[in-house]
Amino acid sequence: MAAATVDISPPRPQRRLTLRKLFASRSLSVALYALVLWLIVRTALTGAEAMGYDWQWYRIPGYLFSLTDDGFQLGEIGYGLLASLGLSGLSFLIAILLGLLVALLRLSGLVVGGAVALIFLEVVRNIPLLVLLYLFYYVLGPIFGLGRYGASILCLGVFHAALVSEIFRAGINSVARGQWEAASSIGMTRAQAYRHIILPQSVRFMLPPLTGELVNTVKSSAIVSVVGVAELTTVGRNIISETYLSFEIWFTVAAIYLVVTVCISAFASFLESRYAVSN
């Protein structure tokens, strides 16, 4: 009797658990993703056909790269991609350095340092990225003699530093207090404790959100096309204004961003798994 009553209740949560697991599984997410993408593309294609759009996909590869007698040569979009990667990379580097500085200031216990960091965060977080870009380009640019490239990189760096600093702060705080005490008790300075004990341990907590922020930086770098920095999005717009290949080009540009960000995420999970093994 008792055994029977025990038997009845458990299956429900168990089945729900496996369902949830199924939805969390990688293969199913990929399948769903592909399905949705296919539906969108199909709808677009039929819609375009109805409009009588003249597809000219054959012209696209030439904008990416060409293989001539001179060998491999990047096309306009190829150079645009490189420019976008360079722009995002430099911006993210600034975001990391500035973010670390802001995080350390906030954690320093210094009243002034903490206040400066907090004001920085509030200001940056509460201004739309586009407005921040205009500020950097039209206001700070002339004042400090920044070109459009410099202003764009600084703007993106500052904007993402705010989020990066919160990631650092959370990562640093997630290292147990005892680690600080152990480091202090063997006579380490604060800087030594950060460098050798705290930061290496917080990397594990920070890597996933930092990857997300790098992906965000790549994506938001597209916005600098509004001040005319030559990068992927700008190149796309320029080509369209000459050729009217708007559907093909925007599909291509979007796909390139997608490939880049997926590669970054894949590389990050590779790093993560390696770190997990070595620990």
Partner: protein
């Protein structure tokens, strides 16, 4: 006595003769005077006075929350005291103490939760202090680390990570990590309380050997067998005060205060 401690106690003490001269004047290595400690309005330590001399072994016991941890953490300034004075080797600890780190190098600390560095191997846990703080060369630091791993009886675990060791092994690594800094005093804050019973003895054995080698030790512990064996003086604390200080023979058989007797009856029952 210091020779028997093994290698290199001269490290960081160019002035060893001065150390000896200081022994003759019998200045205590730890001197605590009228120490008060407040956490906001709560007084965790009340007028603590305690001198510890070179080579002495002090065991501190008392009910949970009586301020034992707070007291020993004031000795290496993991906690800042609110009033009174703490001297380590004649140097007063205060905000103005320019080199609190120099003091901390002289005072080793073993924590209840081990606090090993999980991202470093056992050997790296032991060498990071000597290399980064004492500026020792890596080969020298590794030689020293292996020597102390030997002393805590786990020479074969050098290349493992802390998470791969048992609790008792981790705590012995933590003891070795402190010893690698060649401290003159070792503080232990309930080093066996987080251990499974079958691992307590391997840690206590190491601590007894350390005591026998002449190390100055202040141990917070409720391991009364250990206390009887090594303590020169027992300290009983309650509600932030030192209630009784006595040699073990007297402390265990005939404690002066009723509160201390009650406490002993309670823990010796088990």
């Amino acid at each position: 006595m210091r020779e028997s401690l093994g290698c290199g106690h001269v490290l960081g003490h160019d002035a060893q003769p001065e150390g000896d001269a200081w022994m003759q004047t019998d200045q205590p290595i730890i001197r605590i005077r009228n120490l008060d400690k407040y956490y906001d309005a709560f007084q965790a330590l009340k007028n603590i006075n305690l001198d510890v001399h070179q080579g002495e072994r002090i065991v501190i016991c008392g009910p949970s929350g009586s301020g034992k941890s707070t007291l020993i953490r004031c000795i290496n300034r993991l906690e800042e005291h609110s009033a009174g004075q703490v001297f380590v080797d004649g140097v007063e600890l205060s905000d103005e103490t320019r080199d609190i780190r120099a003091v901390r190098q002289e005072v080793g600390m073993v924590f209840q939760q081990f606090n090993l560095f999980p991202h470093l191997t056992v050997l790296e846990n032991l060498t990071i202090g000597p290399i980064r703080v004492r500026k020792m060369s890596r080969p020298d630091a590794e030689a020293k680390a292996r020597l102390y791993l030997d002393r805590v009886h786990i020479p074969e675990q050098a290349d493992k990570y802390p998470a791969q060791l048992s609790g008792g092994q981790q705590q012995r690594v933590a003891i070795a990590r402190s010893l690698c800094m060649e401290p003159r005093v070792m503080l232990f804050d309930e080093p066996t309380s987080a251990l499974d019973p079958e691992m307590i003895n391997e840690v206590l054995d190491v601590m007894v050997e350390l005591a026998e080698s002449g190390m100055t030790m202040i141990c917070v512990t409720h391991e009364m067998g250990f206390a009887r064996k090594v303590a020169d003086r027992m300290v009983f604390m309650e509600k932030g005060e030192i209630i009784e200080v006595a040699p073990p023979a007297q402390f265990f058989t005939n404690p002066a205060s009723a509160r201390c007797r009650m406490f002993l009856d309670q823990i010796l029952e088990h």
